[in-house]
Amino acid sequence: MTAVLELRNATRVFGSGHTEVDALVDASLVVDTGELIAVMGPSGSGKTTLLSLAGGLDYPTGGSVLVHGADLADLSMAELAKLRRHHVGYVFQQFNLIEGLTAAENVALPLELDGVARRPARAAARAALAAVELDGLEDRVPQDLSGGEQQRVAIARAIVGERSLLLADEPTGALDSLTGENVLRLLRRHCDGGGAGVLVTHDARFAAWANRIVFLRDGRIVDEAAGLDDPAALLPGSTP
């Protein structure tokens, strides 16, 4: 398996002097093709910082971050943006979508920003929406979509255009368990289909969907565990 994402002793320090904060310290992590990695930890443990470094939204203070073997520190801001258009997709806890744009337009946005013409971009968007079981809702605006539907649109945008690395920051945080379950199924399907993903979550039931679970505390990776073979066993009413 090839490493899609690799963190090598990545460190991120914010501020200086008496306001200095070690958000992430010496974090090393490899995410291979087909892998879904869950990142767990208490608030302020560095989960979001790790995700920001992984997607090139921020530069590490120390160490390195590689995506498909390319060191992100060697890339300019424009190249990092291109990386996100081609290889990295983000899903946040909420407010993922640009208000005023339809579901299809939100999904097609990375392609259009990359210069893909409207028609092929919309076609790709429709295909992505179909992959997340939202066909028929292409022309709905975010206000007319439920929370779960909005998250699925966000996932569709994160995977449109054959992007390989999916970074999800608490994607189920604002959803009920059943809807969250459906979101996790989509993430799992993406990884099983040749992609890779990093999932930040507080919920162990959803973390169990990952191949590996990484535990963060005070900015450091303190433990690692394997995910469950059958995470569906954690559904309500089932016995773990």
């Binding site: 996100r84 640009i98 208000e99 005023g100 337009e105 920003l113």
Partner: protein, 839 residues
């Protein structure tokens, strides 16, 4: 940027502008309102202003030029016509300016002998009803004459003191001069007005003009075709007003640009708020792979789109207003406008101006938003603003350099330097605003709770606050400037009055016969000024033959004048001051506060009241020129300087000689005299009103006192102050609304922790008071200093008056009113807003 990306970002801009409809509406209004005013005013101005062709038609019909002055002692009009190039068309027209008393009121009219169907003169007139005059006792008159003389077609009208009578046969107008009291008689009907050429007498004043059209040439080129003849002078032809039109256009565009800058500053504040409210969108664009230029494009496109909408709205509204006013344009212009014009250049220019203004207003917020890191934008964090100290220091340097440039540009007459200096001073003051805003936040700890919250809010939202404060500064600086200029001018007038405070100029109904006005003068003295001194004075003339009467002079009569020594002006040029020579006696000197010089007057010296006219102990009397066009000889007269600075000659004589001295010099005293009354003390307002009441009982009588010579600009000052205060209140209102929208959560927290409705009102009112107060504090030096510099550089020795009332209104009045209004109209948000996070 690829076309697809451009489309995507434009789509985001347009959709988000529609979502934030109130903020978008505000920006559209900020752009649309000045565009409306510009377009409406522009359409009306273009419509009512005659084109050069229309002006020419109105002034001289189809003629290339007119001849209105020639040596009438040796040439008749027909002689002049005979001298014209072969093939020329010529029409002689006599115009009679006549005054007629109608029902106790003096009515003036212009009577011309012209045929309406004449090829040259015809376009100057238009028959409205009835017919043109054919017989010598017929006349067609304008509607104004019909109204003023209370006559109609078919009646007889009597004109002039000798009641020359005509029968009205038609109604006629001059399309380019609708307000004129006009009468058209048949050609030749005025030929018997002998002795009236170019002179004014009891019968009025007649002018003979020859309208000429030279074949094959037009305009002034036709005049060049005339044979050189010294007996012919005085031509009327096309005038080049392109310079004036360009100046008017420049001023109009300058005013429009200034207003758009004002509204642009407020619109910029709205764009900053919009960018902040859409921070999440900025982050999502970055997370989706967008680059800073994509973010910039979204915001700039928002500006351009709203600017375009605002401009189109403004243009439509402006056209609508012009259309509504169009039925009244003829009356407004005093000419037949021939339909409303909608100049394409104006409309396209307005569209570009508004769109560019809005786009520029979005530029700084766009650049700032594009610099925010995606991570920070996703978290709703904006970077800390740059410390304002460095910018403020640069601003103070700009003020200093700008002041130097202003003084230098004024002193040397270099307008570009002066303009640059003024702009630098203005911008310098404006860029100190962020420092003041930050200072407000720092001093908040000393304030009561509500004001403290308001001060912190103001400082925290400094980016959008500063723009609005800058706009309010520009608005409030204007009345400070206007007040400084007008008060200083008034002080200058009082420092050099045209009359002393105890003097009254008296105009009698018949200045050629003072005796006939005795009842008026006796009533004036007995009722109002029992201890006054009355004196008469008149202009001295070189002349022979009969007196031409008031206002008349010519080759036979020549007013005597004296000139002072050559003096060098500030610009290096040399010039001499002149004054008319007047004839008066010791009574006149008494009325002029110069009793001490009575002996000098009797001794034959000229008593001088303008120090620039006297050259040591002599004045130079210009004698009558021996030939036309030659410089006159000069005679030195002994003189004495009586200039005590009590009045500036103009209404009153500058140089006085006695009647005996005038006779020695061969001068005549004009038959029309003026009367000067000197009261026992300063003339009170009550005395002046009573004097006016006496004059009203004698038609043609009039009195003029010092107060009548000083045209106070109170209306202008107060008008500018009211307009500026209203503008500043509106700007501050918008700024407070924007800040309040951003502080919703804070206010919801206040409510949730138990603050009463009064607290929020005080916070909102405090914000308005602080914003307006900041603007006022900066506006005062911004308005006062440049004017002071310019006036000091041009008017040495004249007082600079501090406009205390305007300063008080700007610094105290407007802020207090702003605070009260804001507090009164603010509403308490429901606490449930606390539960809804800001997107």
């Amino acid at each position: 940027m690829s076309l697809a990306a451009r489309r995507a970002t434009t789509r985001i801009a347009w959709r988000q502008a529609k979502l934030a409809k109130w903020r978008s509406l505000l920006i559209v209004a900020m752009i649309g309102l000045p565009i409306t005013a510009l377009v409406a005013a522009g359409i009306i101005a273009v419509t009512i202003t005659p084109s050069p062709e229309e002006r020419a038609l109105g002034e001289r019909g189809n003629a290339d030029f007119t001849i209105h002055t020639w040596d009438k002692s040796s040439l008749t009009a027909d002689d002049v016509v005979a001298l014209l190039p072969p093939g020329s068309e010529a029409v002689v027209r006599r115009s009679w300016y006549v005054d007629t008393v109608v029902g106790g009121t003096l009515r003036s009219a212009l009577i011309a002998d012209a045929a309406i169907d004449d090829p040259l003169l015809g376009p100057m007139y238009r028959l409205v009803s009835g017919r043109a005059a054919e017989a010598l006792d017929e006349i067609a008159v304008s509607p104004r004459v019909l109204e003023q003389f209370s006559v109609s077609i078919g009646d007889r009208i009597s004109l002039g003191p000798e009641a020359r009578t005509f029968r009205i046969v038609g109604e006629v107008i001059a399309p380019e001069r609708l307000r004129e009291s006009l009468g058209l008689v048949a050609p030749g009907a005025l030929d018997d007005l002998d002795g009236l050429d170019d002179f004014r007498g009891e019968m009025g004043w007649a002018v003979t003009e020859i309208f000429v059209n030279v074949p094959g040439v037009t305009g002034w080129h036709a005049i060049a075709m005339l044979p050189q003849d010294d007996r012919i002078g005085g031509f009327g032809g096309e005038t080049d007003e392109s310079g004036l039109e360009l100046a008017i256009t420049g001023i109009a565009l300058g005013v429009a640009a200034l207003v758009l800058i004002e509204t642009g500053l407020v619109a910029a504040a709205a764009f900053v708020v919009g960018a902040h409210r859409r921070l999440r969108t900025v982050g999502l664009i970055g997370a989706a792979g967008g680059e800073p230029r994509h973010v910039r494009h979204v915001l700039l496109t928002t500006g351009a789109v709203l600017g375009l909408v605002g401009s189109l709205t403004g243009i439509a509204a402006g056209i609508g207003i012009a259309w509504l006013v169009s039925p009244h344009l003829d009356r407004l212009a005093g000419r037949i406008t021939g339909g409303t014009e909608y100049p394409l250049v104006l409309l396209i220019g307005a569209l570009l101006l508004g769109t560019i203004a809005a786009t520029l207003a979005a530029l700084a917020p766009a650049r700032a938003a594009s610099r925010i890191a995606t991570v920070d934008a996703l978290d709703g964090r904006t970077p800390a603003p740059r410390p304002p100290g460095r910018l403020a220091r640069r601003g103070l340097v700009a003020v200093a350099l700008g002041s130097v440039a202003t003084v230098w540009g004024t002193a040397t007459g270099h307008d570009p330097v002066l303009t640059s200096g003024l702009v630098a001073v203005l911008i310098g003051f404006l860029v100190t605003i962020p420092l003041l805003v930050a200072g407000v936040g720092r001093m908040a700890t000393r304030l009561p709770l509500s004001l403290r919250i308001a001060a912190r809010d103001t400082a925290r939202h400094g980016r959008r606050t500063s723009g609005a404060v800058a706009a309010a500064v520009v608005a409030l600086a204007v009345p400070v400037m206007v007040a400084t200029i007008t008060l200083s001018n008034d002080a200058r007038h009082y420092a050099e009055p045209m009359l002393a405070d105890d003097q009254l100029l008296v105009d009698v109904p018949d200045p050629t016969s003072i005796e006939d006005s005795e009842p008026f003068l006796e009533e004036l003295e007995s009722e109002v000024f029992p201890e006054a001194t009355l004196a008469t004075f008149a202009v001295a003339f070189f002349g022979e033959g009969p007196d031409p009467g008031p206002g008349g002079y010519g080759d036979e009569w020549y007013p005597a004048s004296v000139t002072g020594p050559l003096r060098q002006g500030d610009d290096g040029s040399a010039g001499a001051t002149g004054a008319m020579l007047h004839v008066g006696d010791a009574d006149l000197l008494g009325a002029l506060h110069a009793e001490a010089y009575a002996d000098d007057l009797v001794a034959g010296r000229a008593v001088v009241f303008d120090a620039e006219v006297i050259d040591g102990e002599i004045v130079h009397l210009e004698e009558r020129p021996s030939e036309a066009g030659t410089w006159p000889d000069r005679m030195d007269l002994p003189a004495v300087n009586a200039d005590a600075g009590l009045f500036r000659p103009g209404y009153l004589p500058g140089v006085v000689i006695s009647p005996e001295r005038a006779a020695e010099l061969g001068l005549h005293r004009a038959s029309w005299e003026e009367i000067l009354l000197r009261a026992a003390g300063p003339i009170t307002h009550d005395q002046l009103e009573r004097a006016r009441a006496v004059a009203a009982r004698y038609p043609g009588a009039h009195v003029t006192a010092l107060a009548d010579t000083i045209h106070g600009d109170n209306a202008l000052r107060n008008g500018a102050l009211a307009l500026a205060a209203a503008s500043a209140l509106a700007i501050v209102g918008v700024a407070v609304a924007l800040v309040s929208a951003e502080s919703r959560r804070d206010h919801a927290i206040l409510t949730a922790v138990g603050a009463g409705p009064g607290t929020r009102r005080k916070v909102v009112g405090g914000s308005a008071l602080l914003l307006a107060g900041l603007a006022g504090v900066v506006a005062v030096p911004t308005g006062f200093i440049p004017v002071t510099l310019i006036q000091s550089a041009t008017n040495e020795g004249y007082p600079i008056i501090v406009p205390w009332f305007a300063v008080a209104v700007v610094i105290v009045g407007v802020p207090v009113v702003a605070g009260l209004i804001a507090a009164a109209v603010s509403r308490r948000p429901p606490a449930a807003r606390l539960l809804r996070p800001i997107a």
